[in-house]
């Protein structure tokens, strides 16, 4: 935010895209976060199958909870990583010095994080259909919509909190402490909607939940746009 006149840097959308593309290119070359996310979520899924006997309970009852717990935990890896990499060579300072709106930095980071979690979900959803035996092709369109809607909110909050955790010099532990209680409405809604979809109900049956999730996404996007500036400041 420069005072007096337009900032000389790129516009909001362009800046957002540049930041996201940078993060994704970095991830594409190293596969640092994605490899640990996929591995970690496989382990979590296996642990869940030990903890609950998933073969005796109908899949619509347990699978939503298992899936979203796995997504949330592996999301933490991606979110924390996106600011840890910036700290190693202090490139966060360079980002802060760049003449772009702080909101655009946030949006770029959140977009890259969102893409990472979506990639993980694209791997995990077919796998979970194999593991837990539900008919993925039949529910795919509504399931993709539900997953997308809720992941947006989780990625937004995760990005904001990862920045806060990085600022106080704590990593994943603090991030998880912040992310899970704050995103609880979203997680409840995600589980409710996913379970309705797996039971073969139409999306209209969970319309209030979808509205809550959509409202959550919009509200916290706006809140993060305004407050990210204060998080980055040094």
């Amino acid at each position: 935010m420069t005072r007096g006149g337009r900032p000389p840097g790129p516009g909001f959308l362009r800046a957002c895209w540049i930041v996201a593309a940078k993060d994704l290119r970095l991830e594409g070359r190293t596969l640092d976060a994605l490899s640990s996310m996929v591995l970690f979520s496989l382990i979590v899924l296996t642990v869940f199958s030990f903890a609950f006997d998933l073969t005796t309970v109908p899949s619509a009852r347990l699978v939503p909870g298992v899936l979203w717990t796995t997504f949330a935990f592996s999301g933490v890896i991606a979110f924390a990583r996106s600011f840890q990499t910036e700290r190693i060579r202090d490139s966060l300072t360079a980002l802060i010095l760049s003449p772009v709106d702080r909101g655009a930095l946030f949006s770029g980071k959140a977009l890259a994080n969102l893409v990472l979690v979506l990639v993980l979900q694209a791997v995990l959803l077919p796998l979970s259909a194999v593991f837990f035996g539900y008919d993925l092709p039949a529910v795919a369109p509504s399931l993709v919509f539900v997953v997308l809607l809720h992941t947006v909110g989780i990625a937004e909050l995760g990005t904001l909190f990862a920045a806060i955790a990085a600022r106080v010099g704590r990593g994943e532990a603090l991030l998880a402490t912040l992310l899970f209680p704050f995103s609880s409405p979203l997680l409840i809604s995600a589980v409710k909607c996913t379970s309705a979809v797996l039971e073969g109900k139409p999306l209209a049956a969970v319309k209030p939940w979808l509205l809550v999730a959509g409202g959550f996404d919009v509200l916290y996007f706006l809140v993060a746009l305004v407050t990210f500036e204060y998080v980055l400041e040094d």
Partner: protein, 233 residues
């Protein structure tokens, strides 16, 4: 307002003391026994005001956090910090008194019901705010990050409530739109009086805690000044 013996503080202290004594009198001697639950229902007169104060304090935190980010005056952060801690304190009171009542009334200590879950989550959010403030390596950074978190937390509370309410609900709804007032006049008087007593207790604690925070700031400033002088000498 610097000394503890300041007339305003003393006056508030006396008022709170009288109100709290009066509240105890009303709860235990004036209010009648509840028909079904009996004496254990009297915990209601502490539980409900504590819950109201906890949620009110969360919104004081929201206002003070916004004011701090806007003006950057440390008094607002001191207020936000005090409101956060007090909200956590009253939240803990709610979470302790609730199960004591729930055990005889519902037969269980805890149930994942909307108001209980919301209060528990509120406690976790407030604890997160306190944690971030204490983790930060400088007071200014802690204030900034905790303010951001405080705003996010306070906005989250109504959404959490909406969500867990749809998720499940069994908490007794004593007041609500379209409901006839279910309380006997003595019960209503007692509740109003207890609410007043708790609000004045909250006001006093907020004042004292904020003032301590301001003193801490001054000690911090003085220490830094002495340190700087020591280095230059």
């Amino acid at each position: 307002m610097d000394r503890l013996s300041h007339p305003v503080t003393v006056a508030l202290l006396v008022i709170v003391g009288v109100l709290m004594l009066g509240a105890n009198f009303m709860v235990f001697l004036y209010a009648p026994d509840e028909r079904v639950m009996g004496a254990v229902q009297r915990i209601f007169y502490f539980h409900v005001p504590a819950a109201m104060v906890a949620f009110a304090s969360t919104f004081v935190m929201l206002g003070a956090s916004i004011a701090y980010l806007w003006t950057r005056r440390r008094i607002w952060d001191n207020l936000a910090r005090s409101a956060t801690e007090l909200a956590l304190l009253f939240c803990a009171l709610v979470l302790v008194t609730g199960p004591i009542w729930a055990r005889p009334a519902w037969g269980v200590w805890w149930t994942w019901e909307a108001k209980l879950t919301t209060t528990l989550l509120l406690g976790l959010l407030l604890a997160a705010c306190v944690l971030v403030r204490s983790y930060a390596d400088s007071a200014e950074k802690g204030a900034r990050l905790a303010s951001v978190l405080g705003i996010v937390a306070a906005l989250d509370v109504p959404i959490i409530y909406r969500a867990v309410d749809w998720w499940r609900g069994q908490h007794p709804v004593v007041f609500g739109p379209g409901k006839k007032d279910p309380l006997a006049p003595e019960m209503r008087n007692t509740l109003s009086f207890c609410l007043l007593a708790f609000l004045s207790l909250y006001a006093l604690l907020l004042l004292l805690r904020t003032r301590i925070a301001c003193h801490e700031d001054r000690v911090q400033d003085a220490t830094e000044m002495l340190g700087a002088r020591g280095e230059s000498a």
